[in-house]
């Protein structure tokens, strides 16, 4: 509660200073699954987002989605929809909402929620099989979410 309040304060301040504070995973505001406000106030870097989308230990988007633009990365999955044209089909706010927590827009989606820290069943400490400890954080950082969103926005048919 206090954190939300601080985040709002920070956002308000940012409109004057231009230097926003990061929105915590628990403070993200979803409207019909979309997230209007940048999580960091810093524009996403599509080149960085491309790296995150293809990297196995980061976003690993290609584990489930095919992306023609990432043809240099071997082995694309076919679990989720192809991402070609994602930038035509979705607005930036929708993309941000889907990457941060797709289950708000699509209730039964298999897609992991990349910017969420609460509400898990038996959360673990990464891939160790041990219980989560106080280092537990979201799968991607706020800026990494922004980078991926910026990259997806470039995927036009």
């Amino acid at each position: 509660m206090e954190r939300t309040f601080l985040a709002i304060l920070a956002l308000t301040a940012s409109t004057f200073s231009g230097a926003a504070e990061e929105i915590a995973p628990t403070a993200v505001v979803y409207v019909d699954g979309s997230v209007e406000t940048s999580l960091t106030g810093t524009a996403g870097d599509p080149a960085m987002g491309r790296e995150i989308a293809g990297n196995k230990s980061l976003g690993n988007c290609v584990a489930c989605h095919e992306v023609t633009d990432l043809a240099d990365v071997p082995f694309h999955g076919e679990i989720g929809p192809m991402l070609d044209g994602a930038g035509d089909r979705w607005t930036e706010a929708e993309l941000r909402g889907i990457v941060a927590n797709a289950k708000i827009m699509f209730e039964d989606s298999m897609m992991p929620s990349f910017y969420k820290t609460e509400g898990f069943i038996r959360p673990g400490n990464a891939y160790t099989g041990e219980a989560a400890d106080d280092t537990f954080g979201p799968l991607l950082t706020a800026q990494q979410i922004e980078d991926v969103v910026a990259y997806l926005a470039t995927l036009k048919e």
Binding site: F75, H76, E78, M110, P112, R122, P123, N125, G129
Partner: protein, 281 residues
């Protein structure tokens, strides 16, 4: 059709096999016994799938061939080791397995019905639990570690003598509450990735997840010789690995949760032939 087109695109992009469908093939063991690797889904699955398919159909040509011949199947080396143990006296009672059961071939028909409710104990027991019960209470021997080498080898021997017989675990009567608990777990989305068994093995079998071809996650072929770690792997060890990969705190092999899950997952393969020790990636 959609999957086929998708696979074509993936193939063009990444040199994947052209189709991600389970392979059409017949598993004939030692040019003798034809195993049932695809069959009508058991009644309790009729609302989610029509057919149950062994993981054998989701593996490559060489892997499938390796399992068809006992001389090529590395899992059979461990079966031979267990055969020796079967006939070796251990413990304070001066008994081997053979002292009571005679030849290991007399155990044909046991693997297909486990996990099974044990009336005297008042609980559902896995084959591992029953083996350890024999060791402790009949032989006066030390219990084996649940997924240790001795144990997994012995389960491979017991599976091997039942190859070709259909999996047929009971899910009603006194086993029902355990089965329900296993079903609950099967559909529970665990860990930071919030993945249930069903997300991959019911909703997406046949699809590629990165370089892996998702199967139905059937356990009729356990224990499994995995090319990845070149040893026999117990079903509970595989369950643990899967749940770990959802970024979750896992359950332990031999835990009530995994006993229940094993009964439920085994029941999804009722009708498929016992294949263990099978070969998988």
């Amino acid at each position: 059709m959609k999957i086929w087109t998708g696979a074509l695109l993936a193939g063009a992009l990444t040199a994947l096999p052209l189709s991600a469908e389970p392979v059409e093939d017949t598993l004939i063991l030692n040019e003798d016994i034809t195993l049932v690797t695809r069959t009508a889904a058991p009644d309790h699955l009729s609302d989610v799938m029509d057919e149950v398919i062994s993981g054998w159909h989701f593996r490559g040509t060489e892997t499938r061939a390796m399992q068809a011949d006992d001389f090529d199947n590395p899992g059979m080396i461990f079966v031979e080791q267990a055969e020796e143990v079967w006939n070796t006296v251990d413990g304070s009672e001066g008994k081997s397995c053979a002292s009571c059961h005679e030849g290991s071939e007399t155990m044909a028909g046991v693997r297909p019905v486990y996990p099974k409710y044990n009336e005297a104990a008042g609980e559902v027991r896995t084959l591992e639990m029953q083996i350890n019960d024999c060791r402790e209470n009949r032989m006066g021997a030390e219990k084996w570690k649940y997924t240790g080498g001795d144990m997994v080898n012995m389960t491979a021997l017991l599976a091997s003598v039942s190859r070709g017989m259909p999996v047929n675990v009971a899910i009603d009567g006194p086993a029902q509450s355990t089965w329900e608990a296993g079903k609950e777990l099967y559909y529970t989305r665990t860990g930071q990735l919030e993945l249930a068994c069903s997300n991959c093995h019911e909703d997406n079998y046949g699809n590629m997840i990165r370089a892996d071809h998702l199967s139905q996650g059937q356990i009729n072929g356990f224990p499994v010789y995995r090319l990845k770690n070149t040893k026999l792997n117990a079903a509970h060890a595989r369950f643990k690995g899967c749940i770990r990969d959802t970024r979750a705190e896992t359950y332990s092999p031999g835990s009530p949760e995994f006993i229940a899950l094993e009964l439920y997952v085994a029941s999804r393969g009722n009708g498929l032939s016992v294949e263990g020790p099978s070969i998988r990636n």
